[in-house]
Symmetry: C2
Subunit: 487 residues, 2 copies
């Protein structure tokens, strides 16, 4: 692999943005602004055949007019001009580039010819490039960003995302943005005319800032290489993949989208299993699973203990866990005795442990369950079933004079809960058993509360439906099994 | 069925709340407030053995002390006192009741005995009752509400929800609350010692204010009656059910929760199919599907046309639709011609119709697809891919002087989009073909925008993941098939 050139893709010292413009509504308008926003010491050169200045910066008519060295070119001119621009870049000694422009292999025979020519010009000039037909890429560490999705920077984190679709990549990134989850690097691979998904995978495999790799795959161009790479990488860091084209309709759509040939789905399935890639079924799962794999300990077996504050959630979670191959295991007699001592007499006396809305003892129940040798992970469902703000509302409903009392109760409740979050997370590390959390409230509003922030700051998700957390637990078990099978 | 008594459950003229209290933290505190909040002309009598006044209202020591007629009793005293309270109610001539208190059949042999006694006292007194061990119930039409989940009233609507779990019911109700979706009636069935799920189903079946019935089922006590009722009702209004206990772990948990015997899952599955009950797999689906069944036209076949502004979403949706038995059909030549005339040359030329981020023509494309005799429903994915607020942000980024121009652009964009929503919804009615919408953004934040409010006010959901909408479409197709099979 051309490590130096791929390094340059994520952290160039000098960048030409070819097609930069001040005309609102054009991609080149957003792009120059994306590149400029975190520039730091990076040198930025707008290039526009007609302009003298773009975005308040001196602009050049051609990349060859730039008097200084140019490491990297961002190309966003119309398709018919891309090849000649690439030729200029070669003359200029540019090391690497990204071609945002569409209208190549995804457009039939003529486009394929044009793409071939583009590759040949770049290869002759020693330029490696991303695209064409891509939404962009970024590194949060270096602050280099060609993704025009939003006028804000993405948060730094340890998930590396490689996506063969800009909008699916964007979907995952936006969920992270909304929930405060960071990424190390993102690459929208586009048509992969030169650099392919396998190149990025190899790079992220050896990138110390990336601890989990998430992939959206329509079709692999170098299946054998992918397999060899993934087999090595997945021993050190988890790889989670959403591979589409499961059905004939999906395959057809993928071909028309990025000219990717999906291949028989069951071959992919077997291949992923053999090289330890965790395959997920839905786009939300790609995100949910990547975060869990990042933060949670390796799961040592298949046995889940479910802790719930409500019976219905316990039933739903039991079904969801077992349906995904997890074992809702039998508690040891010692755990039962321990729980008898702290829970009200009407608790469920088994797994799921239903505290029947009893509060104040759930943390202690969780600790007892973590200590059970029959349990490899905890699923804590219906966490935070009380919103203290509502309690205040109810209390001052009697008499405004009770506001003070209400606020004190809420503060006490909050600090007790926050303390228990800290203890739960520290026990998760101590016992090296995953704890997956699910809220009893739908939607993502809970992220507004202090309690949820505490979880989030530690990189732990609260799933919002009982089935979602069960899916994630099954993936954690799968990855643990794979690692054990490697010996 | 005892229609008069069940009527009384949802709209009593006079209510005794037995166990009402001003002690914060007790259920009776929240309960009296829930009952009082929309009282209108309804007479409310707190009953508490020790108090003279509760919640600012004159209180009675026993229900028999109340000088006026009492239609309905809300019972929230500790379990050991429930039977004697029920005896008092019988003496007083109360017609119907709800027993919130837990500690009956779900608690083993002693609890079962107590429950038997309770039923026998109620039967002797001619009282029908909900529970015991229930979260409560409500009717938004009458404003009668014993559900203490939140100190606000739920919105009026046409979905009737019957749940064998309070927290699962609460989950669905809270999602509705968050997204502005209303309900007609809710019943947390509890232990179903007297009135059962089948009674409520029969009642909602003939209730004109309920257009769709949603069920959370752990186990049926009167399977044969359920079957007969559902077979008749589902011809007139859709019934959607989440039935848990699919796995042995789920069955065991259900038994410990509400002492329900789940029975073999495949028997339930076959039974639901025969009587036209739409069975869903996840709690989020119960909500999503109920809303779609409420508002969308009956689907006349299996063939879906997918319209997308991004290729990845098109691929994911194609997979998700076909995997659930839908047919991503071939467009008619006339539709292809029509789309060629309005879309940029690089469109996908097939189904899914990928407009490749071209804007301004998606509404017209949708109309052409609706008109295609090969299409029974439209799945419109990645609706509203532009957030005008971001565009303003970008534009004023060049020069603050352009703010005015930016605001005009946004206003134009907004009014064009709003117009197209109106047209899409009116065409949905005209062609009588469902249109299911999915956002390109994760989470539920889009509900804040004017555009989403317009959809929502018309009762139409925007799903936030491509797989979610596909699941719903498959249910719409299933219900259509069932109705056709009935002739």
């Amino acid at each position: 692999m051309d490590i130096e050139k791929i390094e340059c893709i994520f952290n160039p010292q000098s960048v030409a943005v070819i097609g930069a413009t001040d005309t609102f509504g054009k991609w080149g308008f957003d792009l120059i602004r994306a590149v400029v926003k975190n520039r730091g010491k990076r040198k930025i050169y707008p290039v526009n055949i007609r302009e003298e200045e773009v975005c308040g910066i001196k602009s050049f008519h051609r990349v060859t007019d730039i008097p200084e060295t140019v490491d990297f070119a961002v190309i966003v001119v119309p398709a018919p001009h891309v090849v000649s621009v690439m030729r200029d870049c070669a003359k200029k000694g540019v090391k690497a580039a990204i071609v945002i422009t569409a209208g190549f292999a995804e457009m039939g025979e003529k486009g394929k010819e044009l793409q071939k020519e583009l590759v040949s010009v770049a290869r002759d000039g020693g330029i490696r490039f991303i695209g064409p037909n891509t939404m962009g890429h970024f590194s949060t560490l270096s602050g280099f960003d060609t993704l025009t999705l939003l006028p804000v920077a993405f948060k730094r984190g340890e998930i590396g995302l490689i996506s063969q679709s800009g909008n699916i990549g964007g979907y995952v990134l936006l969920r992270g943005l909304e929930e405060g989850v960071g990424f190390s690097k993102f690459i929208g691979t586009g048509n992969e005319a030169d650099l392919t998904l396998e190149d990025y995978l190899e790079y992220l495999g050896q990138d110390d800032n990336t601890k989990v790799i998430a992939l959206y795959i329509e079709g692999l161009r170098q299946g054998r290489r992918f397999f060899e790479l993934a087999r090595e990488i997945s021993k050190k860091k988890p790889i989670v993949a959403l591979k589409v084209g499961r059905t004939s309709a999906g395959m057809k759509a993928a071909q028309s989208h990025t000219s990717a040939l999906s291949g028989a789905d069951r071959i992919y399935d077997a291949m992923f299993k053999q090289c330890g890639v965790i395959r997920v079924d839905e786009v939300a799962e790609l995100y949910d699973t990547a975060i869990a794999l990042l933060r949670q300990p390796i799961m040592k077996g298949n046995r889940v203990g479910i802790l719930t504050r409500g019976g219905g959630f316990g039933v739903l979670s039991s079904d969801a866990c077992q349906a995904r191959g997890l074992d809702v295991s039998t508690l040891s007699p010692r755990t039962i005795d321990g729980l008898n001592a702290i829970l009200p007499p009407y608790w469920s006396h088994g797994n799921p442990v239903d505290t029947v809305a009893a509060t104040g003892c759930t943390y202690e129940a969780l600790r007892l369950m973590l200590d059970d040798e029959n349990i490899d992970a905890i699923y804590y469902v219906a966490v935070i079933d009380k919103d203290p703000r509502l309690n205040i509302g109810r209390l001052i409903d009697i008499a405004p004079s009770k506001r003070e009392q209400a606020e004190r109760l809420v503060a006490e409740y909050n600090s007790r809960e926050l303390e228990s979050v800290d203890m739960m997370l520290s026990h998760m590390g101590e016992y090296q058993k995953p704890i997956v959390f699910c809220s009893s409230r739908p939607g993502r509003k809970p992220w507004d509360s202090e309690l949820y922030h505490r979880f989030r700051d530690d990189g732990v998700m609260i799933y919002s439906a009982p089935e979602d957390g069960a899916k994630v637990l099954a993936r954690l078990a799968e990855y643990g099994r794979y690692l054990r099978s490697c010996g």
